[in-house]
Structures are given as structure tokens and as C-alpha cells.
Subunit: 302 residues, 2 copies
């Protein structure tokens, strides 16, 4: 099978979900000369893209009818299922040769199901979740982890490269999602490490800023500490990444681990701690809010 | 109080414990022109330093009798207590104005006790544990975290700067040890994160090297992954840092946390997992052996 490479000025893209991530990702593709049709649940969120010349369609199906490659980045696996496989979903509007790309962090098994269902119609599908957050999306610096057939990945490469700096084909359908799960597993216990370290530092009477100078340079360093250390010193808990989305990701990873008969106690603990963060009303705060929840549990007043 | 700054060719240093770390640290000080007298439990381990012109003394007390600043880097808190406060310890051989520096990772409360006991004799004491491992020691690139009085820290600065790249005064007695505990708390759950991530990656059928390319660049990155990722791909479990020493450090941190009434479940879990590593006979392997223990628990065969 050979799939035509996406080409600016020729390949028409569709975009479903123009939130804090999707809006920038679509914009970067448009900046490379790809015409876009967009759909999003809250139409006002699409306005910046419409202002740049994107067309609007009333459903994922309608997007697909006017597009060659359709991307989605939405919230939860149920949303992914609906926008791809639903009655008004993108697959319903696809013709043979269309390519569907899910960039949501979602279930590996759903990625496999979408690809298999699409294949029956001669439609291709990739799973391509990303890491890098809103800042990575804005700066076209995302890490994109891709599952699917190699020639389809190659065909979409010019579009991925418009959005990300690290574009890597990880294997067959679901491999992108599995890689993203690895990413989230790594982050989960590292966030626990960071919050426990800062909590101990505060309670033992150390100066947090001075401590960070000592510990961030050596073996204890992490991207979490780089990203959130300074924000936590300023007591800034605003979202870069929502607690409730992180809980969703960890839930998927734990469910996959259970299917694979894998013992991941650090992940299970991290998810439980984040349940406490959400229970304390911080589901829509940033993931660094774990520190606040753990301070509350230990009765630490700041 | 003013304390004379250490000066090459004039200030005589003493060194207790010339193992994988201490040997290099003492050598770097000698290379700056400081004459050294050393003591170590296994005399052969001191030979490289004796070959470079160091004198040997038969006890920490005898070391102190011939030195102005006495460093120790030994194994456990009980060893620290013995070499500083024992009948044949360094304090017994110290005169007023002598400076004692413990660079072992040890108990914050013991650091406070040594400093208070020393003070009664007009002797100064610092706690100055390090991060960076044998490689950091060899390359004089350690992070040195110091607790004690500022003028004493300033007096010893030329010696610290011979051994380390990041030399930071963290506060009064015990603050160096508390900072090192923060460092070890950060590492503990980050190691759990890394091993769980790699275990998931392997079990889900991904190619580990390709996965690392995607996840090490973004928010999931850590120094642990930088240091151990490649070694784990090669199934290299040789020690950079011993499991049994890490267990000691986590034990100290947990005991301090309990005294402070602090909830640190990630640290507690990490220590338990490392107990499993030791129970599986890997106490003298490197801390990356956690992966092996977790593979065994999940019945993963490599």
C-alpha cells in the first residue's frame, strides 16, 4: 500500500477540537499552507482559526466530507469514540483513502478499534498523542508519539512536523497511546517525588529557593522540578495541565496495566493522591496542586 | 566569631573514610596543595592517597591531632557517631578552633548533636553531605549541601570548592542533612516512576530505545532517566549507588518525616520496594536494580 504524502495547497485538513492545544496545532498546519475545516463543541473556541481563514462544519462527519486528513484532540475516550465512530463521526464522512488521526490521550485498545473499523472502509487511522502542553503546542515543540502503519505515518509527516519537534513512529495501532501512557507513568510518581520533597523542605525549616539550587542540579533533577519548582515557590497553582485530565490518563494506564497483569504501585498511589486533589475541589487546577493537597493532609499551613 | 580561611600549604586537612567517594574528594584537596592525614578502616583503600604523599594515622583521634580541618565520609550514622564522638574519635583529638566536617549522608539530629558537643570544646562542626556519586566525586563536580555557622562554612569554602561544583550553605547545623534528605526523597519516587514506565513499555510491546526518544525530551524527563535509561537498556545493574545505602537514606528521611508529623507515602512506598530489591539479594547492586525486582514481582521474564 502506498499513501500520498500530505502536500500544502493540495491536501485538505479537518480539525476536531480547538481547545488550548488543538487551536495552536491546527494554526501551525494552516501556516504551512494547508486549508482547514474545523468543528468544535463550543463554536467560539474556533473563532481564532475562522479568523485565519478556516471553514467551519457542523459535525465531525461534515468535517470529514470536506477533508483528506482529519485530526482530533478532544477530552475523554468517550469523546474520541463519538467524534470518530459515532453516527455523526468522522468515519461516517470518510471515503476510501481518508486518514484519521487521533491526538487525544486515550485508550490504546480504542485506537486499535478505530483503526480496525476504519480499515473496513478503506480508511486509514493513526493514534498520535502528544506531550508538551499548551506551551509546546503554541511553540510547535510537541513530542508526538505515533501508532499505525508506516506509510500512513510518512504521509502525515509534513503535518506532524508543522506541530512538533519530536515526531516518532512507535509501532502499530495503539503504540502511540502506549508510549503516552509510559510518559504519564513517568510523570505521575515524579510529581509525587517533587511535592514530597518540597513539603519536607518546608517542614524542616529550609529555604525552598536555596534548596532547589542544591537539588535541581544533580541526580534529583527532573523536568517536573524545572517546570513547576518556580511556580510552586510563588504558590501558583494555575493549570498548565488539569488535574482531572491527569486522573483520566492515569486511570487509562492503570486499566491497561491490569489487563497486562502488571504491578505498578507508584502509579496507583499517584492516582489515589490526585483523587484527593480532586476531592479537595482542585480538579480544574494544575497538576502541581498536589502540593496543596498534601499540605492539607499533613496539616501544614502556608 | 571569625574563623581563619583554609589556605593551601598552611591548613592541614584530615580525612576519615577513603572509599569510592572520599578517595577522590581528598585527592582533589591535596591537588590544591593541602597536606593530608588519612584514616580508613581498610588501610589498603588509603594506598592511592598515601602514594600521593598523604600521611596515615591509626585512628580518627590521631588524624585530628595532626589536622586543622577534619573531613569524614563513612557509611552509616553509627559510623559517623563513632568517628566523631567516640573515644578514639576526631573530637577527642581536636583543639579549640579545629573544624569537623561530616560529608556522610546521615541524620540531621546527629549533625546537631555533633555540632553542640564540639562547641563545648570550642571546636566547630559542619554537616556537608554531597550528591553526584562516584562520577561527581572523581570529576570534582559534586553538589555539596552545607549546614552550620556561616563563618565556618566560609573558612572551609576553598576545600569544598576543590571537591564540588555546587557549594551551597543551606542553614544551621543539620540543614545540610535535611537538604540531602530532600534530594533523596526526590530521587526515590522518580526511580519508581522510571522503573514502572520502562516495565509498562516492555510489557506493552514497545521498543524501549524508541520510547525513550519520545519521552525523555518532554515533561517526563528526569536525571534518573538520563543516568539510568541507557544502562537499563543494556541490562547493566552494576552499582553507581548501592541499594543498601539508598535504603539507609530513605530510612533516615522517613524517621525525620515521622518526627515532623509529615505524610510522605511515595517515599514510604519507594523504601518498601527497595526492601524487596534487597530481599532479592541485590543490596550491593545499583539502585537501578529496582527494575529487576519489579519485573520479578510482575513475573516479567527478560
Amino acid at each position: 500500500m502506498s499513501v500520498a504524502k500530505a502536500e500544502a495547497g493540495k491536501t485538505r485538513i479537518g480539525w476536531i477540537g480547538t481547545g488550548v492545544m488543538g487551536r495552536w496545532m491546527c494554526q501551525h498546519a494552516m501556516a504551512k499552507g494547508f486549508a482547514a475545516t474545523v468543528f468544535t463543541r463550543t463554536k467560539e473556541k474556533a473563532q481564532p482559526l475562522l479568523d485565519l481563514g478556516a471553514a467551519y462544519a457542523d459535525s465531525p462527519k461534515a468535517v470529514a466530507e470536506r477533508s483528506d486528513v482529519i485530526f482530533a484532540i478532544v477530552g475523554y475516550p468517550k469523546d474520541v469514540r463519538e467524534v470518530f465512530l459515532g453516527t455523526d463521526g468522522a468515519l461516517a464522512g470518510s471515503k476510501p483513502g481518508t486518514i484519521l488521526v487521533d491526538m487525544t490521550t486515550s485508550e490504546p485498545s480504542l485506537a486499535v478499534e478505530i483503526a480496525a473499523t476504519a480499515k473496513k472502509k478503506g480508511v486509514h487511522a493513526l493514534d498520535a498523542p502528544v506531550s508538551g502542553g499548551d506551551v509546546g503546542a503554541k511553540n510547535a515543540a510537541l513530542s508526538i508519539m505515533i501508532g499505525g502503519e508506516k506509510d500512513v505515518v510518512d504521509a502525515v509527516a509534513p503535518l506532524f512536523e508543522a506541530m512538533g519537534k519530536t515526531v516518532i513512529h512507535q509501532g502499530g495501532s495503539g503504540a502511540g497511546q502506549h508510549t503516552k501512557m509510559v510518559n504519564q507513568i513517568l510523570i505521575s510518581s515524579t510529581m509525587v517525588a517533587m511535592c514530597e520533597g518540597l513539603l519536607y523542605a518546608f517542614k524542616s525549616g529550609l529555604d525552598l529557593e536555596t534548596v532547589l539550587k542544591s537539588v535541581s542540579v544533580g541526580a534529583a533533577g527532573s523536568k517536573s522540578l524545572d517546570i513547576y519548582g518556580a511556580r510552586l515557590l510563588q504558590r501558583n497553582f494555575e493549570p498548565g495541565f488539569y488535574v482531572e485530565h491527569f486522573i483520566k490518563d492515569m486511570g487509562i494506564a492503570l486499566a491497561e496495566a491490569e489487563k497486562m497483569n502488571l504491578f505498578l504501585p507508584g502509579l496507583a498511589l499517584a492516582k489515589q493522591l490526585y483523587e484527593a486533589v480532586r476531592a479537595q475541589g482542585m480538579g480544574r487546577k494544575g497538576t502541581q496542586s498536589l502540593l496543596l493537597a498534601m499540605e492539607a493532609i499533613s496539616g501544614v499551613k502556608r
